[in-house]
Amino acid sequence: MKTNKQTEDIRAIRDMMEKSSKFLSLNGLSIVFAGLFALLGIGYMYLYKEEYIAGYQLYPQMNTNLLLIALAILFLSAVTVSLFCLRKMKTNHIPLINKTLIRAAYNLLVPMIVGGMFGLIFFMKGDLWVTLSVTLIFYGLGLINTSKYTFREIHYLGIIEVVLGLIAAFDPLHGLVYWTLGFGFGHILWGIYLYMRYDFSKKRIS
């Protein structure tokens, strides 16, 4: 009798510590969508594969086309993930501006923006292979960085992205393959896992 209350107490303490310090409004399904968008975009980029392989670089007139596709995919994914987050926050009565969201977003975005600019510079110089590798590496670092402030599982996705990015630098001819694995299948797998673990059985986070 007595110990039952104490077990419950301990669980309540742990629950509240986690809930108050982490951003848990991420929805696994939205990450799956992000992965699917990435696959679509990368599929389109494959059309330019021949030119890319010829001399490791793109013809100038192709640049804007590829860049627009990549940015559109990034934007679409970000909007989808945000909308799913907003919905979950609304049902759980979590205010839009809250410390956990700001902390998680900051830790993800700083490496992403730095890496994005770094990649963009090389892209404009025509070295697409550097961009393919660097975006994976910095995105992975961002995930590792932010995993302390959201679902812990993100950490391992981050490690995989970094490793894929390094391999992509080593094997520049197949950069898009590593993008497909990292941004496409990585997100789909992790999204399904997070969805099954946290959203499918809704009891864990109410």
Binding site: K2, T3, Q6, T7, E8, D9, I10, A12, I13, R14, M16, M17, K19, S20, S21, H93, I94, P95, N98, K99
Partner: protein
């Protein structure tokens, strides 16, 4: 066994107070509304527990204005964090 039970702090008998202390220990500070939303409580309920904990100096409150809205921020005192840790230890021992 009885002396372990004696170590359980009476101030933490309520689940709400445990929640308040947990939140304040992992976040250096938290405001009233954040705690209210996290624990899904009414204003009055949370306020009375906060007042009790403040009365025995386990937590401290600072009032400030964000824009025009008054905002009360709470932090845990060193006395409170010591007491809470002792309480968790006692709970742990009791379960073993």
């Amino acid at each position: 066994m009885p002396n372990i039970i004696a170590k359980l702090d009476k101030a933490f008998d309520s689940r709400v107070r445990l929640g308040i202390m947990s939140i304040l220990l992992v976040n250096e500070s938290a405001d009233f509304n954040t705690m209210k939303n996290l624990m899904d409580l009414t204003d009055g309920n949370l306020a009375s527990h906060l007042k009790a904990l403040e009365g025995i100096e386990y937590i401290r409150s600072t009032k400030q204005f964000i824009g025009r809205k008054p905002n009360t921020k709470y932090t845990v005192t060193s006395l409170g964090s010591k007491a809470f840790k002792a309480h968790i230890e006692a709970l742990d021992k009791l379960l073993k």
